[in-house]
Amino acid sequence: MSEFTVIRAGSAAGLPVPATPKNVPHRGGDANPSAEALKAQFGAAIRRVEVVWGETNVIVEMAKAHEIIQWLHGDPSQSYEYLSDVTAVEFRDRALPIEVIWHLRSLKFRRFLRVKALIEKGQPLVAPSVFDIYKGADWLERECYDMFGIRFEGHPDLRRILLWEQYAEGFPLRKDFPLRGRFSRAEQLRQALAANPEARYSMEELSVADAYADLPQDMRARIKGGESTGE
């Protein structure tokens, strides 16, 4: 069996030995050098750079976000090969824009960068998908869609992931969504119980529609009728 060559984090030359950060200021401090590089590379597409509690936020144009992340991933001087997280923030103050956030890490340079793009009030909730750059973005973006309703353009399979497909109450992490949901408990339970737990071999949910024709005749009939199996 073949052996892989070990990839070491922090392999770039001349890095200091990492240490636990102490007495980090609230605002200000040293920004991640990638922020300057981004400004030099993209100019006006980088709207703002701020350092909060020692973490560098780069606020970018939504239209350029994909290009910027692609550059951060691919450029050897940046090498942000690891996507930690994709998420969004909606503020209690509804006038503030919704932020779409990518947490990126460069293993080679031991850097952490937060890239933000803003969706202004009234604008459609759309963001570019980075699935073509990071495979790990698949479920993270689906979850963000499930919870906020933000559509990631270019994602091949953007469906609800934690809640079920027919969930009718909306997007739970939006600020207009009440903690206990929109419906009464009885109605929520009724809708949940109305689902047949095994009927969802359905082709559209499993996205095996192209395999459907290959299934045996009797199984096709069963699936089509939504009949449960194993009973």
Partner: protein
């Protein structure tokens, strides 16, 4: 069909060859290299490309929770795997927006319930970043002890349940016996076995009681023996090796691109550990090694986890040796309740107590992302504050969620029985995945 794979199946009844032995007939699904043999008489050509859907879960002993896998099989080979999650979605992140920072800590117990103390401390680290608090030296060392103990018990559950999945029952009993020892330690420290809520913003729920360190020393002394016993029955066991070697391989580049973390990433040959590369709690001052695998298969993940437990014991030994005296909680009335006798006798302390309980501490507007090396991988808590006592957004970066998202990549092309081994090797915990 998406997959053009030539899979040989053995037909036992209809496919008897002229020599009386079962004939191997390639079920050819395409022209890319598959040898198109003439099917012998009696074999229906319909068999080509016949696929079967198999549903595992959400209630199944080998899915480690309420995971559901829908598998499309060609013979016994998995052609496609579609994981379904969300059966344990409880709205953690939503409820975090309705709770004060200290009130969120009980929720962190229950998101990754195998690593309760580690989560408590990780959350407290994030909140302290948001408040701009530096904890005391004693608290820092106590937190390291808590984190490493919970790493050990999390890996123990992993080992026990994985051994059951692959067919060994005894290591489960041994590992739960050791877990009971750690449960007793936690119970003596914070009063709960499993859902500990051990930390607070600015300190811990309690200092360790007298004599507690003796119990910890006894555990550190005896635990490696149990580990050696498990090592002896499992590591070179033929069944274990046969079912894990070469299964579910991820290359280092793939592992990074899929965002894997923790033992999953390190078994694939990526030397990345948050404790080493983005240290917290002064981990850089401890002497320990980060085990790295080079094959990226299930067996290497097992070896990495076993070695991590040994390294955790090393860290525990050093932490015991250096545990300083002094207060556990910071001296900051913004976040820490005053002692009870002061709250009832001094006006100022009473006001602090009242404000802390009724209104809750308020951090400055800002945001903080704190990642720690949890047993499953990089566990991140991302908190956004608008200056009120409750966060605007509390985001959990769940390591096993991202790790699980790579399962289709890992199982496709393997046999059905390997799915169980691969799924076990991810070390999923549904409370964290679904939140």
């Amino acid at each position: 069909m998406a997959t053009k794979r030539t899979v040989e199946v053995e037909l036992s009844t209809t496919g008897i060859g002229p020599d009386g032995k079962p004939q191997r007939i390639p079920l050819v699904a395409g022209g890319d290299g598959g040898v198109a043999l003439q099917a012998p008489p009696g074999i229906e050509p319909d068999l080509e490309g016949e696929h079967m859907l198999i549903n595992i879960g959400p209630q199944h002993p080998a899915t480690h929770g309420v995971l559901r896998l829908v598998l499309e099989l060609d013979g016994e080979t998995v052609v496609r795997c579609i994981p379904h999650i969300g059966y344990l979605h409880c709205g953690f992140e939503k409820i975090g927006e309705y709770r004060q920072y200290n009130q969120i800590i009980p929720w962190t117990d229950r998101d990754d319930y195998l690593n309760c103390v580690g989560n408590n401390i990780a959350f407290a680290l994030g909140a302290e970043k948001l408040f701009g608090i530096e904890v005391t030296p004693r608290c820092t060392v106590l937190r390291v002890i808590g984190m490493e103990l919970s790493r050990i018990i999390s890996h123990l559950v992993w080992m026990g349940t994985t051994c059951i999945d692959i067919g060994a029952y005894t290591p489960f009993l041994w590992s739960f016996q050791e877990r009971e020892n750690v449960y007793n330690l936690f119970e003596g420290w914070v009063g709960a076995r499993l859902t500990t809520s051990a930390s607070r913003v600015g300190g811990m729920a309690a200092d360790i009681p007298d004599g507690w360190l003796d119990g910890l020393k006894a555990f550190v002394r005896t635990f490696p023996k149990t580990l050696d016993e498990c090592d002896r029955v499992v590591t070179k066991n033929g069944i274990w090796v046969g079912r894990t070697v070469g299964i579910g391989v991820m290359s280092p580049e793939e592992a990074i691109n899929y965002g894997l973390s923790g033992p999953m990433l390190r078994a694939s040959g990526v030397d990345y550990d948050v404790r080493k590369d983005f240290p917290y709690l002064d981990y850089e001052t401890y002497d320990f090694e980060v085990p790295v695998g080079v094959h990226g298969d299930v067996y290497d993940r097992y070896l990495v986890r076993m070695e991590e437990m040994r390294q955790s014991v090393r860290i525990l030994e050093q932490a015991i040796a250096r545990l300083p005296d002094g207060p556990v909680n910071v001296d900051d009335p913004r976040v820490i309740l005053p002692p009870k006798h002061k709250a009832t006798s001094e006006m100022e302390s009473m006001i602090h107590h009242f404000k802390n309980v009724m209104e809750g501490p308020r951090p400055a507007p800002g945001e903080a992302y704190v990642a720690v090396e949890a047993p499953k991988g990089e566990k991140g808590y991302y908190m956004v504050s608008d200056g009120s006592a409750k966060p605007v957004r509390w985001r959990i970066r769940p390591p096993s969620y991202v790790n699980l998202s790579a399962i289709p990549k890992m199982v496709e092309g393997h046999l059905l029985s390997d799915v169980i081994a691969i799924n076990a090797s991810i070390d999923i915990v549904m409370g964290e995945i679904d939140r």
